[in-house]
Symmetry: C2
Amino acid sequence: FRVLLLPGDGIGPEVVAAARRVADAAAARFGLTLEYEERRIGAAAIREEGAPVSKETLRRAGEADAVLLGAVGDPEFDGGEVRPEAGLLALRRELGTFANLRPVAAIPALSGSSPLRPGVAEGVDLLIVRELTGGAYFGEKEEGEERASDLSVYTRGEVERVARVAFEAARGRRGRVASVDKANVLATSRLWRRVVGEVARDYPDVALEHVLVDAAAMHLVTDPGRFDVILTENLFGDILSDEAAVLPGSMGMLPSASLGEPGSPGIFEPVHGSAPDIAGKGVANPYAAILSAAMMFRHGLGRPEAAEAIERGVEAAVAAGCLTPDLGGSSGTEEAAEAVARRVA
Amino acid sequence: FRVLLLPGDGIGPEVVAAARRVADAAAARFGLTLEYEERRIGAAAIREEGAPVSKETLRRAGEADAVLLGAVGDPEFDGGEVRPEAGLLALRRELGTFANLRPVAAIPALSGSSPLRPGVAEGVDLLIVRELTGGAYFGEKEEGEERASDLSVYTRGEVERVARVAFEAARGRRGRVASVDKANVLATSRLWRRVVGEVARDYPDVALEHVLVDAAAMHLVTDPGRFDVILTENLFGDILSDEAAVLPGSMGMLPSASLGEPGSPGIFEPVHGSAPDIAGKGVANPYAAILSAAMMFRHGLGRPEAAEAIERGVEAAVAAGCLTPDLGGSSGTEEAAEAVARRVA
Ligand SMILES: CC(C)[C@H](C(=O)O)[C@@H](O)C(=O)O
Ligand SMILES: CC(C)[C@H](C(=O)O)[C@@H](O)C(=O)O
């Protein structure tokens, strides 16, 4: 399997190195061969190549079996003309990764660090399926001194394909989809609601509810346990998935997968950012990147057994108290990676 | 003062009657005369008048000194062609109420019902200033079978005037404004960020920070105490203000004011919805509507002393244990209104 590594900025290189260490252990155990290529994205690419992602990197990504990404973003470029984040958006568009999957679940060993009351926090076990290549992110923009505009567009086909991903995922979980929109105000949301309702007819075994985005933002805090799969459009997904990400207490544990059409390479990356304040110190929490590698084996390379071995390895390492500072421990990035790799092997 | 009452749907009529009872007590105490007119909005207006708000009602609203609104929305019209919510949007546009103010603060007597851990919940004391007449709510829409779009537009003037409201409010509070946008993706957000930064120069005594909307959605849950005034555009404000609204534990306590140019009538309404499940039972929590009447005295009629008397009256009634079922008590709507009115008188 060819894996393109895009470590990116801040703590990206450290956590990607950790994920690679664990992926290699899993590959060895299950008799797989991973061939890596490493390239730049984000601020690192702006500095060395003059653009947040080069054409060549996009081309190589398209030829890979999967892309393992670290983090993108650097305060140096805040408010500038060239934004590191543009590299990530270009990569998503190039690979057509229309479905972003973000599982969020309470981790019993870490429940003390949740901002929610104990009774509320424990119920969190949800999957956000966020549309990733449409909406206001990629619509026409106008930007003047006096006036600016963003156009959000959705087509029936765009809604349908991501809805199918959500319904399929619900089948492997608790069989419920909450589709989030703002149908009382937005035209795109009314199309969204109609098409999701039509797709639902093909999944009579899955229960569908429609939830307004403002109500969803409330329910996530008051009663996150009511959600199984949350399906939503790009911008709402950006907001709700970050809101959901803090519920278990540490973002440092959350992986993501961005998937396109079958056969095209997915992007696997931790949900956390580049955390420039702790970059290079060897203390970054690598579990989210490691769990992203697990998602890569499952969704990108079709090797669920390797994914499960990694996930069990992380659980065991955490339960054994191998915790980085953000989790209240004193383990370093490499130590945590080592602890998981040993268990995977 | 001429006050237009728009009770609307569900529990709206009950809580508006309660707010009127208290407003009358405040008027009597401070020697003011309130003249009421009552008209329909929302589902009630669709049923009786064929539209969610009539032209005549919009005209009367424009002639009033303030509009006191209950709630809008009825499941009967969910997904229909004519939506009760359209009445509210038309009213906002007619009156040009571009600034929606939503104060959210922890209520010590009710802290047990917050979904947040004790240490986190207590710090909540923030004011959301939401732009209310621009953005994707009022931009051009296209709605077809195969494709739909929403255009979000902001002009410099629209951003500037609502930013001034936020900076002025911060001066009377803890002197901090967090402006929330998605400047790494949206053109409107980049205009927003630029103009807010320019307005900030006129307020050297107020500290400004720019926060991305996804980060803001996280911080609201993990560390709400870091926020004083949150300034944001229409759609982000819809989502974040509902997320913030559940932090203190009960939405039944939260008022709002929607203000336009000086001299034009504002809209004062509780943040909660029409709650059709408990409508007509006499158990709806009237405090949010009563506190909205207080905001009406302060921001709409220029009588802060009446506002304060009402606010102290609500605090005292709550502290005395006069709690509706949603707050864990067994008081009815009228009883709670009576308890406040007595204290105000
Ligand atoms: C970096 C940024 C452009 C990106 C987004 O908004 O999609 C990030 O917030 C995410 O959620 O992956
Ligand atoms: C009823 C609806 C149109 C409205 C909005 O989205 O503005 C409501 O959610 C609000 O926040 O006042």
